[in-house]
């Protein structure tokens, strides 16, 4: 369809375009009151750019994913200058006081986002998970140590996991000290306690930014992340 009938393709992807424009509007990138006009503008730009899209798409991802990236970039490019949050009506966001049945779903989605944020740190991923789990007072299993992929510590995983588990109920500084001792054994080079603390604070700051979005739409802190991790673990064990 991309090569043979781009107009039909554009028609088919109208829901995708609308979703992206709305999503950016609600994030504060675009004025909410002009969503239908913005969709029209995006369509006009997409028609102009279709030959470029056709030639640049490399078929290594699904077309829907690639197209979503293109539409998002187009929106940001076109409407960056309009970045104003429209003033909301006073009681627009007041809702009935019932508990939302979607809460477990939200927890699952947000935990999925956290996993993505941590996954992007690639080689640091196992160390970050161990640190977060220690801070959340969750059990460290030998498999958590195996994920470091260190062959030279083979057989010592239960012992290292046990050492990390000794951090239970200690304060944050003491927990990070224990983590740093274990990480030093898992890394080729020794890491000082201060270096581990700085490394974690650095990573944490970025993970919070990734989770909160830009412009911020959430208010994650370390404490809330730990609650999220604990809650997700609980849901996983329940299911």
């Amino acid at each position: 369809m991309l090569r043979e009938d781009p107009e039909k393709l554009l028609l088919k992807y109208q829901p995708v375009i609308r979703i992206i424009v709305k999503s950016l509007a609600y994030k504060g990138y675009l004025p909410k009151r002009e969503i239908s006009d913005l969709v029209q503008d995006v369509n006009r730009k997409l028609v102009e750019r279709m030959p470029r899209i056709r030639s640049q798409y490399n078929y290594k991802s699904r077309f829907r994913t690639y197209f979503s990236v293109v539409v998002r970039n187009l929106c940001l490019e076109e409407f960056r200058k309009l970045r104003i949050v429209a003033e909301p009506a006073a009681d627009l966001y007041e809702q009935p006081g019932n508990d939302s049945p979607a809460d477990p779903v939200i927890i699952k989605q947000e935990f999925e986002r956290l996993k993505r944020a941590i996954r992007m740190f690639y080689r640091d991923e196992p160390a970050l998970w161990v640190t977060f789990r220690v801070l959340a007072d969750l059990d460290i299993q030998p498999e958590d140590i195996t994920r470091f992929g260190k062959t030279d510590i083979a057989g010592r995983e239960p012992e290292l996991a046990r050492r990390l588990n000794q951090s239970f109920k200690k304060n944050k500084r003491e927990k990070l000290e224990i983590v740093s001792e274990v990480l030093s054994e898992l890394d080729a080079k020794s890491r000082s306690k201060e270096a581990v603390r700085k490394w974690f604070e650095n990573r944490l700051e970025e993970i919070l930014t990734l989770m909160n979005g830009k412009p911020p739409r959430s208010a994650y802190t370390l404490e809330i992340l730990l609650i999220l991790i604990e809650k997700a673990e609980s849901e996983k064990n329940n299911s």
Partner: protein
């Protein structure tokens, strides 16, 4: 066989990922694909800018993905990622599916032609073993038997019109050798505690937003990271406009209104935060407009 292409960051996108690479990596993050080139992983590890981009793109793809592959997506890919046009491979699959469908159709026709048997009696039993595991066994008088085992804390209730299975379980905060907490039969407070701190995305957008208006009362209230314990006082001050009237509304992290507070002076509200632990938002409202939204957390004393 074609030689596998090396990942190359596109020159027209500077040092960062191009649209194709971002799409590919977003699919990796979402778990749609297990493998991406090592060079891409290493670049992501190093590049904070691309990490922010990839996170946003993955969020957007979550919204636009309806879970079904599109016609274009269903096409299998060759080694270099291009869609294959191997019609012969497809036709063998089609033939297999058609054969299965034909067998199923014949079986259905035979079953329809046979005389009807009485419906087997269904029976459900609920048993509890010594380890407190609750077992629901559903069986028929014929040959089938299905057993489902639920966790230690399951309750099952059945009425004549519907059946519900509800599972309550204490959140895990386990260490080696620590047994799970004994069942309580009610939803544990810690679950609600965690839920009470999940931010509301819509209200988060409004926290700290600056509105353009000549009559802004320059509201001053607790900052977004403020933490109260129960019975601390939340203070709001503003510069009043004589033609406006003001009130404070507290909502919880789902946007549900908790309380509305009237000012005790023309430019001041002092309100004692008698609230359960959780994340809350305060909204300072005028007669027709919302002037400011803030956030605070309440924790246990």
């Amino acid at each position: 066989m074609k030689e596998e292409k090396k990942y190359v960051i596109k020159p027209d996108s500077g040092r960062h990922l191009g649209e194709n690479e971002l799409a590919q990596y977003a699919e990796f993050l979402r778990g749609d694909r297990d493998v991406v080139p090592e060079e891409l992983l290493l670049h992501m590890e190093e590049c904070a800018w691309c990490r922010a981009e990839a996170m946003e793109v993955a969020d957007i793809v979550d919204l636009t993905d309806d879970g079904r592959p599109t016609t274009d997506d269903r096409r299998p890919m060759t080694d270099d990622g291009r869609p294959t046009t191997n019609v012969r491979r497809l036709s063998s699959v089609v033939r297999l599916v058609a054969a299965i469908a034909a067998v199923a159709l014949i079986a259905w026709v035979i079953q329809q032609l046979r005389p009807e048997k009485p419906e087997p009696e269904r029976m459900a039993t609920l048993t509890t073993d010594s380890t407190n595991s609750t077992t629901l066994t559903t069986s028929t008088t014929s040959t089938t038997s299905t057993t489902s085992t639920y966790s230690t804390n399951s309750t099952i209730s059945t009425t004549s019109t519907n059946s519900t299975i509800s599972t309550d379980s204490t959140p895990v905060r386990r260490k080696h050798g620590r047994p799970p907490v004994a069942p309580t039969g009610t939803r544990p407070d810690t679950v609600r505690y965690a839920q009470a701190f999940v931010p509301d995305p819509t209200l988060e957008l409004l926290v700290g937003a600056v509105y353009r208006s000549g009559t802004d009362p320059k509201t001053e209230g607790p900052g977004p990271e403020t933490i109260f314990t129960s019975e601390d006082t939340l203070k709001i001050r503003w510069t009043p406009d004589p033609y406006d009237s003001y009130r404070l509304v507290i909502v919880d992290n789902k946007g549900a209104k908790i309380i509305e507070v009237e000012p005790e002076a023309s430019n001041l509200i002092n309100w004692v935060t008698n609230l359960k632990p959780g994340l809350y938002y305060w909204k300072f409202l005028g007669k027709d407009e919302m002037w400011k939204v803030g956030r605070f957390r309440v924790i246990e004393r």
